[in-house]
Amino acid sequence: MIAFILRRLVQSVIVMLAVALVSFALFRFVGDPIASMVGQETTLAERAELRDALGLNDPFVIQFWNFIARAASGDFGISYRLQQPVMELILSRLPATLELALVSGILAFVFGVGFGVYTALRRGNWVSGTIMTVSLIGVSLPTFLIGVLLIWVFAVELQWLPSFGRGDTVYIGDWWRTGLLTPSGRASLILPAITLGLYQMTLIMRLVRAEMLEVLRTDYIKFARARGLSNRAVHFGHALKNTLVPVITITGLQMGSIIAFSIITETVFQWPGVGALFINSVRFVDVPVMAAYLMLIALVFVVINLIVDLLYYAVDPRLRVDRANARH
């Protein structure tokens, strides 16, 4: 178990180093950072001085090492555009993105598994048919269109929910600004969360349905029925648990992409999260922010993958190889 975790941790570090290399390359290849930092009146001598002061003339390896060392301590430099430490910028906007991602992730998982199980067990009735058809729409409509449609229906026409922003927020602790504790914050969260989670929900739902149908055909389910176990025990005790083994992986990866690709939703709803920050940084070639964002997303994926592996380990006894080795 410990060896397994250690192995995974080493792999994670390698992945993070690779991503760091890509992020670092951004500084060197996405335009000249000096040009974007100084005004037009700066003389060549002043530019050279600045270049030297920022260490941009050092050899590549040394620059990369410095970058990693600073990144590891949370220092990604100063944003070119906003002249604030990048880490501060990201941390101030991270709660918004995490809250949005978490809520839509939970929505996607709960409804995805629920609908998936329902449509697998009640194949052929009209409710399942309707759910399946609607899910097809969810899969095929692009996120921004869903967002715009939701805004049109619920914000413009019905005027039930706000169309943009986070509503009122309050602080928990020093820097976590939450919208979950105020009514307007919660109301503002509904539309973006649905927009962001809808695709993931339909994906999870279709996956659960397919897996469940597969599991229901297996011998051990037949044998469980032949032993007279109740439908409930067979469906939820035996079939669902086996269904969830592959579903966990996909759901984990989806959670990562919910955080990573909240960019579109955040843009549509003017949600003040990291995704929106990233889009603005791209527009202004704010390389430190872009690099930090890249690293952050990579970290999220790595951590989630680690959690998924551990969950696997917890759910499927066949993976606990330590004490297994089929004793005869």
Binding site: T218, D219, Y220, K222, F223, A224, R225, A226, R227, G228, L229, S230, N231, A233, G237, H238, K241, N242, V245, V315, D316, P317, R318, A324, A326, R327, H328
Partner: protein, 329 residues
Amino acid sequence: MAAPLLSVRDLVVEFPTRRGVLRALDKVSFDIAEGEVLGMVGESGAGKSLTGAAIIGLLEPPGRIAGGEIWLRGERIDNFSPEKMRRIRGRRIGMVFQDPLTSLNPLYTVAQQLIETIRTHMEVSEKEARTRAVALLDRVGIPAAARRIDDYPHHFSGGMRQRVVIALALAAEPELVIADEPTTALDVSVQAQIIDVLKEICAERGASVMLITHDMGVIAETADRVAVLYAGRMAEIGPVRDVIQAAEHPYTIGLMGSIPTLTQTADRLTQIPGAMPRLNAIPRGCAFNPRCKDVYNRCLVERPELIAREGGRHVACWLYEPVKEAFNV
């Protein structure tokens, strides 16, 4: 003779398909007496497993019982509601499947699966169920049962898993056990052990067994009576010694002739020409008529019913009908 434990009368199982209804079992009738082991033999697709599935109420849709009756100890069960039928499964009719490697849920320990099954049918405490479970495992020959019970299925070998499967099937002490090719997926070396365990425990508890197999050796050693199915119809049924040593139905004769023996030397085993008809192309009259060497014109037009013979045997063949001369013009 006392009333049979299980009585199947004119059982018909059909599969509706786009191109018409397929009749997979056609008027199959047989009895299983208290404590008896009935062997059920036939080629693949003859309807052996289907008969078992129909009795225990687990036909896979769209398959359905389209006719006939199934009686368990004087009670008709084929028209039971799903919930009533569920309570019969495991409690009164147990079932052992072919492949022990896939019959057990890989995510639960043996103890969890046994205790769940016991507590589904009997009102006992968790602790008592566990005691029973250990005793059962011990009885089916799992060494160190008290320790092994908390292992997962993948910790056991194939033969051991089939023992666990037998323990599970018998957990709620059913009166009838349907064993659907219980040894086919196992090593030859453990097949005999598994059959012995199954037979012993059932004898101990007075449970009847319906043993589905195409291994005539197993039948000869284990069964009291044997039923031969062909294309969804009963060809012959009778005491195992009589049927094996002096088969009457031409199909059974062919079947027995195709088994190698140690005492006789032969260059070639006899074989029945042709193949069993597909369900959508069963010939008129006797289903065996295209392959039968004794076929005559009555076989082509009229289907033979089971004809009672001496010694409790029944044969579905016109050769044994007293009036056959009338047709032989």
